[in-house]
Symmetry: C2
Subunit: 242 residues, 2 copies
Amino acid sequence: MAKTAGILIIGSEVLSGKVVDQNSTYLAGELRALGVDVQRITTIPDDAEIIAQDVRTFAEQYDLVFTTGGVGPTHDDVTIAAVAQAFGCGVVRHPLLEDVLRRHYGEGITAAQLRMAEMPEGGRLVGEGDLSFPVVAVRNVYIFPGIPEIVRRKFERIREQFREQPFILRRVFLRCDEGQITDDLHAVLDRFPDLQLGSYPILNNPEHSVILTLESKSPEYVEHALRFLLDRLPPPSIVRIE
Amino acid sequence: MAKTAGILIIGSEVLSGKVVDQNSTYLAGELRALGVDVQRITTIPDDAEIIAQDVRTFAEQYDLVFTTGGVGPTHDDVTIAAVAQAFGCGVVRHPLLEDVLRRHYGEGITAAQLRMAEMPEGGRLVGEGDLSFPVVAVRNVYIFPGIPEIVRRKFERIREQFREQPFILRRVFLRCDEGQITDDLHAVLDRFPDLQLGSYPILNNPEHSVILTLESKSPEYVEHALRFLLDRLPPPSIVRIE
């Protein structure tokens, strides 16, 4: 079984259409490439009660949880406190993070800026040594900020620890109507019930009108399913295979 | 109180990083512009049990629910059946939709293609007359397909029925560190507790480093809060106001 993951985007600015979320797309793509099965992506407001409840649920349901947003010095940055609340623990200041902040802001550092050194009690730093400001994690929850450039920079440094056996993906490009091949798809799934089989209609493309995706962690399984499928599909409908 | 909404993106292809979801961004922006308060966006796989459970929860928690994806003729198109399951009702074929499909596909129409005429029992068509293929709705749940072009075309035709009093948005662009103005932001919220106040750090912009957003449905409330805020902020930090 693949490791599962849930992604929690904390951002009232996304819900209100002011900012386009880039983090879920990035993390979903990266995690899939690492062989992790992302099962849910949820965007919620900067509300400590809601965040705490979702973090608790996600942490129970998925092997890995990634949050982005709500980390910073202002009133709407409530993620750290909410994650602590989710696990019924307090918030503590981490000396290493405090040190980084004091060096960055100097003498005039404010109490608000020092809040960024806080983490839920029992939390840990991930990527220490590789990142000047490491990722805070508690149990299976990894806490990222909201700014996409920083999410990328941080995730790149710690991504290898999430690597699993990869998914194998084959794609079949067809020129036909989806409704003409449903029996073939059902036959494939009857024979290969563990295959992840997707069928996607494509509009306004002169070459193909449907893309089928066949996925599994077993290369043989995908190849056998692909061969079985290709034997059934009407040959003129097949444009190409990747 | 603003009407609330939840958006449910049904798409294993989004979770697996193969397709970038455009529908939630579009719907969130449109709904906000219509004065609707989007409170949750969730992406889930093409799994009838999961969809049914989330539809049930969303329909209870929010005034309006919009789903995209999982509508079509193939094995992974399970949204209609799942919404029916969510409300404990069956699936019926709608004569108008059947008629549209039969005209489109002609004599050779397949059983799979006819599945697209199905709707949950007790459902209704929205946008009839304006749309050749109307939107299916059940109670407060509006069911859209996954293809972004079609979502846009359909939503444009029915959007006016969701119009509420608009949100008023003012933005303040600042050159400062967020951590230096947190007391001012707290003071604004103490005085204007119903204000939606956002603070967003901006990287690598030569002009401004923070954007504040002030929102409410009352223009006076936003203006008073804005004036109160501007009186407190250090004048050199203010770059411009929109």
